[in-house]
């Protein structure tokens, strides 16, 4: 009995003290610092292949679907990105009164934002005073600047690989953040261990886990290495959407205006986080019972 108790205690303590699988970073809400998340099991992305700066629709769809597959193939996560058939006339933006539509659109006539932005990802989430429902993502749009930038799906050192770009942006859509601090976000984000993420500069001081991750802050024309995920990217996804918590719901986000104003779509607590504590408590209780000879 004492061996079992000892092993149980040791196991629980090891679980408590064990280092995390990777140093991933999740995007957090401005007010409470909660990680942002999708409530359902699927995220529907509706692409537009119009105004794509010379790329053929099949090339674009191939890049989008391959980028989504990189995230969908992570076996320890339940979340699925569903790239639907392309539609014409899509526009980025969010409306409270209708079913939110997550779009991927190109702009090759007028880029209404800063010309230094090659792609812009906008995430709309619900803020709440309740930690359990703070940060639910209700809309995410990716806009690609084909006015000032050239994209490719077949390589080329002077062009940006579309799949490389979209794989990274889909990471943001899913609620993941950059792996180092480029000074753009205040306060400096923290990783899954609670530690402030390191400065991006100088890049040579950063470990490969950070610079090789798909969610690393920087990319270069011709780069294709972020088409595929690295261990930290997968760890981040699985922490956000662990397979054990699959809600088994694959539907678009319903209109937000029809919800109660508190945004009460509560999310189940992560059993993974509570498990070590429960094991420890169980072990201590057994030990106490053994020493005091009492029964419940």
């Amino acid at each position: 009995m004492s061996r079992i108790l000892g092993a149980l205690t040791l196991l629980s303590l090891l679980t408590l003290l064990a280092p995390p699988a990777g140093a991933y970073v999740r995007t957090r809400t401005v007010d409470n610092g909660n990680p942002i998340y999708w409530n359902g099991g699927c995220v529907f992305m509706v692409p537009s292949t119009e105004r794509a700066g010379g790329l053929a629709p099949f090339e674009i769809m191939g890049a989008f679907r391959a980028a989504a597959s990189a995230w969908n193939e992570v076996s320890c996560s339940y979340i699925q990105l569903v790239v639907e058939d392309p539609q014409p006339g899509l526009e980025a933006g969010f409306s409270t009164g209708s079913t939110p539509e997550n779009v991927i659109v190109f702009q090759d006539e007028i880029w209404p934002y800063d010309s230094s932005a090659a792609a812009l990802t906008t995430i709309t989430y619900l803020a709440s005073n309740l930690p359990s429902s703070d940060g639910e993502i209700v809309d995410a749009d990716i806009e690609v600047n084909a006015v000032d930038f050239r994209f490719t799906t077949t390589g080329g050192a002077d062009r940006h690989d579309l799949q490389n770009v979209i794989t990274h942006e889909l990471g943001h859509v899913l609620g993941l953040d950059h792996t180092c601090d480029d000074g753009m976000i205040s306060p400096t984000p923290v990783d899954n261990t609670g530690a402030t993420i390191p400065s991006c500069f100088p890049p040579v001081s950063l470990p490969p886990e950070i610079t090789e991750a798909t969610m690393y802050n920087f990319a270069y024309p011709g780069e294709v290495s972020k088409r595929s995920l690295e261990p930290d990217d997968r760890a981040g996804l699985c922490a956000a959407y662990p397979i054990a918590e699959d809600p088994n719901v694959c539907e678009p986000v319903p209109p937000v205006a029809s919800r109660p104003s508190c945004g009460c779509a509560a999310r189940a607590a992560t059993p993974g986080a509570a498990l070590p504590l429960l094991l420890t408590l169980a072990a201590l209780l057994l030990l106490w019972r053994r020493r005091h000879g009492t029964s419940l």
Binding site: E91, A118, Y125, A127, G183
Partner: protein
């Protein structure tokens, strides 16, 4: 320590090549300065967000302490916009957009778009000031601006003295445009 404007332009002005984020093309200090119609230093007085066409924009007002480019006098209030913000229970997050808090002391590069002023180069055109209030003891901070990464992966010098930074900006504005290759 005296900083040469040209050296500062090299140290401060070159940021990493395209940053995903929002994917941003790195702008040099020269590009930031030349691409801006208004360059001002001051204190953030307020920020307010509103919906416009499915997007949230936040209006920031700033009391000018010094103008490096454009017509705005000391004490004048300048307004500009950023993408994203919060309206009621909705928060729109645009990575790469500059963030501002009331009371921040900043130096911003601004340029017009659709009849409104925005920060040039998104977050790249916002520099946070620390120390002071005497400009001689104030430093300029901007993560990306501290780097030099054009291919060679060198650089980063940390905070830059405000006086030297402003001198560098003014020198870049006075300099003749470089001939096209």
């Amino acid at each position: 320590m005296r900083h040469s404007p040209i050296l500062l332009a090299l140290l401060v002005g070159v940021v990493p090549q395209p940053a995903h984020a929002t994917v941003l093309r790195g702008l040099s200090l020269r590009q930031l300065a030349r691409g801006s119609t208004l360059i001002v230093r001051g204190e953030v007085l307020s920020r307010s967000a509103r919906w416009s066409g499915g997007r949230i924009y936040t209006k920031i007002t700033l009391r000018v302490q010094r103008s490096l480019r454009g017509k705005s006098a000391r004490g004048q209030v300048v307004s500009f916009w950023r993408l994203g913000g919060r309206v009621g229970r909705y928060v729109q997050m645009v990575r790469g957009a500059p963030s501002f808090s009331v009371g921040d002391r900043v130096l911003v590069f601004l340029s017009p778009r659709a009849h409104r002023l925005f920060v040039t180069g998104m977050a790249q055109g916002r520099f946070l000031l620390r120390g002071g209030p005497d400009p001689r003891s104030t430093t300029v901070h901007q993560g990306l601006a501290g780097a030099r990464l054009l291919g060679s992966h060198k650089a980063l010098r940390g905070p830059v003295p405000l006086v030297a930074f402003e001198r560098s900006v003014l020198a870049l504005l006075r300099a003749r445009p470089e001939p096209r290759p």
